[in-house]
Symmetry: C5
Subunit: 365 residues, 5 copies
């Protein structure tokens, strides 16, 4: 029974049991779904070629390599749309069919399930598209059981590269720790990614703030509403993580989370809180922008209407007077007065002064 689908590549990094590592044995395996399909699906700016650079494509093995007692194994599956690959993996590690269903779909919301002795975590990876400046959302699932951590991604990404390098170079605490620390490190990487995404949003917010002070075009308005919707999405995707990290700290049933990792989970919790707080702040800032713009608009409108009213109120009566003496009646005594014209000019000036006085009193000037 083959563990992979026809085109799945088995990438085994440092995990050859012939090269035992000093402190603890760490196996990393990268499974890929059909490459062509991935390539078609991948419209993100991730440079696939550079990604393949540091991974060794091994042959397909019948079974999972037997791992030593106490050694940790991280299996990273890319391309959850490949049903054969997925079913092979799930059969090998006895993953519950409902869990497999959750892994497959992209619609699943952020959640943590405890299934017998395994932890199943679904989080959303949010990453910016450098070209369109929009953000994409991808589902990453974690399945942790004893010493084995399986991660499921939809598309190939660089997100876990830094962690892989650290394990390979034996930097940091990961190689000296149990699987739970690796689990923490991966989730932490995703949360850090949220911060980067929010930094981009922050830049946009500052641009809007600047534009708002001068003139709000329809484009800016649309950017405001796009950002508002993004923040709405982010909050929906990220806010459950708060409760989840909290539960992980207290999780004792599966005995996966070690005592020593809890302090790191506390730190992770602080990060998640920071992210959700930032989102809420941005949301309130956007609401404030709209309010502020509405007030500016209303102020400007008032000014415009006042100008119109003043001009009309002054000139319409004057025009009436000129019309009056423009009539062609035979018998109009004023017309034949010697100073009639100058009297009418005087009347016009007088009315204008009255109007200006009236506007002054009304504080329109």
């Amino acid at each position: 029974m083959s563990i992979t689908s026809q085109n799945a590549d088995f990438i085994n990094l440092e995990g050859c049991n012939s090269i035992p590592l000093t402190e603890s044995d760490y196996y990393i395996a990268d499974y890929f779904a059909d490459e062509d399909e991935i390539r078609n699906r991948t419209r993100t700016s991730v440079h696939r070629s550079s990604f393949r650079h540091h991974s060794t494509v091994s042959g397909i093995q019948e079974n999972i390599p037997t791992i030593k007692n106490g050694a940790c194994m991280w299996i990273n599956v890319t391309g959850v749309h490949d049903k054969i690959l997925l079913s092979n993996i799930s059969r090998q590690f006895k993953i519950h069919p409902l869990v497999v269903l959750d892994i497959e779909t992209n619609e699943q919301c952020t959640k943590l399930d405890i299934i017998e002795d395994a932890l199943f975590l679904v989080v959303k990876l949010i990453y910016p598209d450098q070209i369109s400046r929009k953000t994409h959302v991808e589902q990453i699932s974690f399945y942790v059981k004893e010493n084995i951590l399986i991660t499921f991604q939809q598309n190939p990404s660089h997100i876990f590269d830094r962690i892989k390098n650290r394990i390979r170079q034996n930097k940091g605490r990961i190689r000296r720790s149990k699987i739970d620390y690796l689990f923490y490190s991966l989730v932490d990487t995703i949360v850090d990614q949220y911060m980067d995404v929010l930094d981009i949003a922050n830049t946009k917010l500052e641009t809007i703030d600047h534009q708002l002070m001068q003139h709000l075009s329809r484009d800016t308005l649309e950017t405001v509403y796009d950002l508002k919707r993004d923040m709405l999405d982010y909050r929906r995707l990220i806010s459950p993580l708060k409760e989840i990290v909290n539960r992980l700290q207290k999780e004792e049933e599966t005995q996966i989370i070690q005592e020593s990792t809890i302090i790191y989970l506390k730190d992770l919790y602080d990060h998640v809180v920071q992210v959700t707080d930032t989102i809420d702040t941005y949301r309130e800032m956007l609401a404030s922008f709209i309010d502020f713009y509405m007030m500016l608009n209303s102020n400007a409108m008032n000014e415009v209407v006042k100008t119109l009213t003043m001009i009309s109120t002054i000139f319409i009566p004057l025009t009436f007077i000129t019309g009056l003496y423009g009539m062609n009646f035979d018998n109009m005594p004023e017309i034949h007065w010697k100073h009639g014209y100058f009297v009418s000019i005087g009347l016009i000036v007088f009315i204008t002064l009255c109007m200006i006085f009236y506007f002054k009193r009304k504080r329109w000037l």
Copy 2:
């Protein structure tokens, strides 16, 4: 004592005790109220004829067929308005009169009651009307007790057909499980139906979003408010289900829910959360649409009023000047000047330039 009303049909599928099924004995019985009445009441697009196709109308029996120990029975009652049918059923299965009252009425809100050793669940089926593109709401009641599950519908529908087929063909887990898994499957079907309804709403939302960018007619406005009201209704009908599924997971009193089904209930819970989250998102999107439209409107209004003001502010004073020299006074020295006309034209041009300069400074141009 007859269990059915005069016109009720007793449909017994695979449930003849003479044909025992391998894994567990499963009895399905479909009771119908007076057909004519149903036909009159049914204005939905459900094609009744095709519905009757795969059901066998059996004769009316005095009593419920005795079922083997451990066998499960599902009785599906269609047409809760038929009081005789309902009272027969309730007497047979000793259903509490208040529960019967809840089944009868369509006004009951979504709820779960535990009555001694029985579970009583009321949920709302929401299904779209293909013709009017509106949605209808119907009440479906579940009464679960030991190995018996009774469902009560108002009108005949295809909603449970897939489940019936799966039982008949012995596909999936249902035949191998207890009644609680069937109960879960039926509720899950209804929740899946919610998703379909929300998909239709989503299509409408996208149409509105597109129309909004150009011009918002009164019709679109009414669609927005209709959708808003629908979302309000859906939230009211569906949100109690969240708490209910949660309670079902912990329900131990009646011993109906098996340990093995809890993982499916967790999955159901995730689905319900997803539905309510989607509803909330749609609600916020609709609110955002209205806000956005208001701002566009306000922006457009501003533009219009500015145009009006500019035209008026430039031409009203000019018209006054022409009126002035259109007066018929005998003694108007300027009129007889040789270049009087050209001086007045010059004045008009000068005033126009001043105005344009003023508007430039005010950023109206």
Copy 3:
């Protein structure tokens, strides 16, 4: 010591101990305050004459009739403003002075108190006035202790007539049950009354909805705000009942609520939830009406201002041109051109076409 005030009537229905009832002895006593005063106070549409029809006015007795062991007694006091009647009753049944104070006042909000071995419930009866189409609010207090239930009303009403008849005719469960079932029945009657009041509100809502589509007059606007205020009042009066009925289900201290009645209280709870849900829905609908009207208004305003602007923008420049050639300067070369008039007409037509083209481009037409 007389139990009643000077003019209080003692109405004893079926409660003469000489006529024992089969299943359980049930005593009903109606006490009335000074009739004249009640008549003056009663400006509602309750037909007093028909009310007196089925009640027997008995003489005033010194003491409460001794009741058999296990028999239930319901005393209905009408006219809580009669201090002497109230103090007599309270002395007889040892009601705490603070409770009496709560009964007396109409300002008390809906609440449940447990005082030693007695339940004290204050609810609000809301009933429509057929003439003015407004609703009146009246306080009804329940005092339950062992086998005795005392109800206190402000004005005579038909609200409990149906229950009285059912007891008299020995219909339903009341006569076969303890006092707690009667208590439930009475509160249920009041909650049913809420539904009727909300039905009237619903009719009004539909009328508004219909009017809104055409034209919103000031009157309709006032109806909207009156309804909004009514809903606010209803929510304030009814929403505490939810918590109260919940508490009653768990109430074990006083041993008044029997195990068998709890299922009825659950049903009552569902009804209360339904009422409060309906109120919330109506509130949101009203808010939605106002929003919708505001948008229609804003839309209409935009149309009007656009029309004004178009007319002004086209004709004001044209009028300026006519004014220009209406000036009386001696030396105006164009005037004496042979085709001057037709050239000016041509200019006017050209300007008009330009304007129309501009409006087309701006999508105002």
Copy 4:
């Protein structure tokens, strides 16, 4: 060591140990800070002279009079700004320095502290100023310990006069009860005062409601916003009391609250709930007023703009026509037609009728 500051008056009512009271010995002592200072500070409408009327200024004593076992003592301190008086009192009764700090300041929010065996309650007295129709807020602190109750007021007021009289005349339950009942009575008096303040607000609300129906002046608008701010303040000051009274009912640590007083605290709780409910209702009413006014305003604006548009739309084209034939071109054939004038009049009438027809169709008329 003197217990009072230089000018503090020691007022001992009925508390001379030589006059033992029948049921329980009740001592009331009124301490005053420097009178001149109080007089300067008191700009309220409290008539100081009448206040002094029923108090006996005693000499200053070194120590608190020793009180009999079981006797209750109420010390009422007026003028918390007098640091010497305060420090004397606090030293005598061993009040914690932090509590003294809370008493001194006026900024403390409503709160209940349990300090060892003493209760410390800070509430706000709200009283109307008869002249300016505004309300003043003053802090009243209660310190209860065993049989001693000390109240601290900022300015002299009549608020506790009724209670003092009741004790002096031995009316009501106070003299027969422990110190906790006195404590309840005093807090109840303050809560009753809230009701009076809200009654004044209610009168204002009704005036606004009436004015709103006709015309909303700037003054009324300011009253609305003043009331809104008042309601905001009241809610902030009063709402913590709800929780506090609730806690007092369950307070068992200090053994100050007797079993028999709990029913009175329940009643007090009902009153506080009523006050906060009323405040919320008023807040919603004010919000509703503003909404309603905005809609009326918007409606009126629409009417005005429609009128403007109709007048302009009808007359501007007509004026253009008159302008056209007012031009002085030599060669204008129409002018010399015999019926030219009447044709132009006909044209004008025709255009007017077209316009009116157009407005009818647009429902502007």
Copy 5:
């Protein structure tokens, strides 16, 4: 191994073990990061020179001075950007690397962590900039363990000077208490600082309130929105403190908080509540300002548009009449009437009176 970075100064006040203090030995040590860097970073109005005045720069020691049993030590580290200094301190006191990370960053939100036997508190210091009238936010971290309290500041400030002086002069309770009281005093100082910042905000609010009554310029509008954003920030920074101080009161794990300090923490809690309440009040006041301004604006707009409409409605028809008789048709009978002119004047007056009457009836005048 040196405990400080190259330029860090070791300031030891009264902490020379050769001068033992009477009640308890109190050591205060001030560590500074590179002065030049601090000077560059410090753009606040803190006068550094005066700050150095009362501190003695000691030499750098290898180790922390050994402290007597029961003596307390307070180490104040200024300049958390100095990585060498920070790592030395953390190594000496065995501070967890994650805690060091939290100290270093300025982005950490307000929080309390309990790490084994140590308390780690992060709060935000908000202080006004006297020149720009804006506020700066700085992070202050507290690390408490047994008898040692370490505070970490970003920039030098005077905030703790008063406490240092009190310790030096042995005033107040600090020298007689354990380290927890010092901890409380320092946090209390920061909370008091919040009050000062809110007082400045209050002044701004009053200015706005005053300006609003006359005219709202764009500048004031921006101040309103700046204040709104400030309040949003403050609430985010300060509100977690409420929960934190509450937790500190109940904290028993680390045995740092003494029984006697709890009453002071209660007081601190009241202060924090007061601060957050004030912020909420200010937020609601700002919202109310904007609402009020919008209504004033809308009112003023109405007035302006009414004026425009009245002038136009009166004069446009009149101008039409004058235009009519200004036409040059040969055959216009009215023109040659003897009283034609006066009849037309009469017509004009009549129309004007009709209009005025119409406006009166419409209540526009």
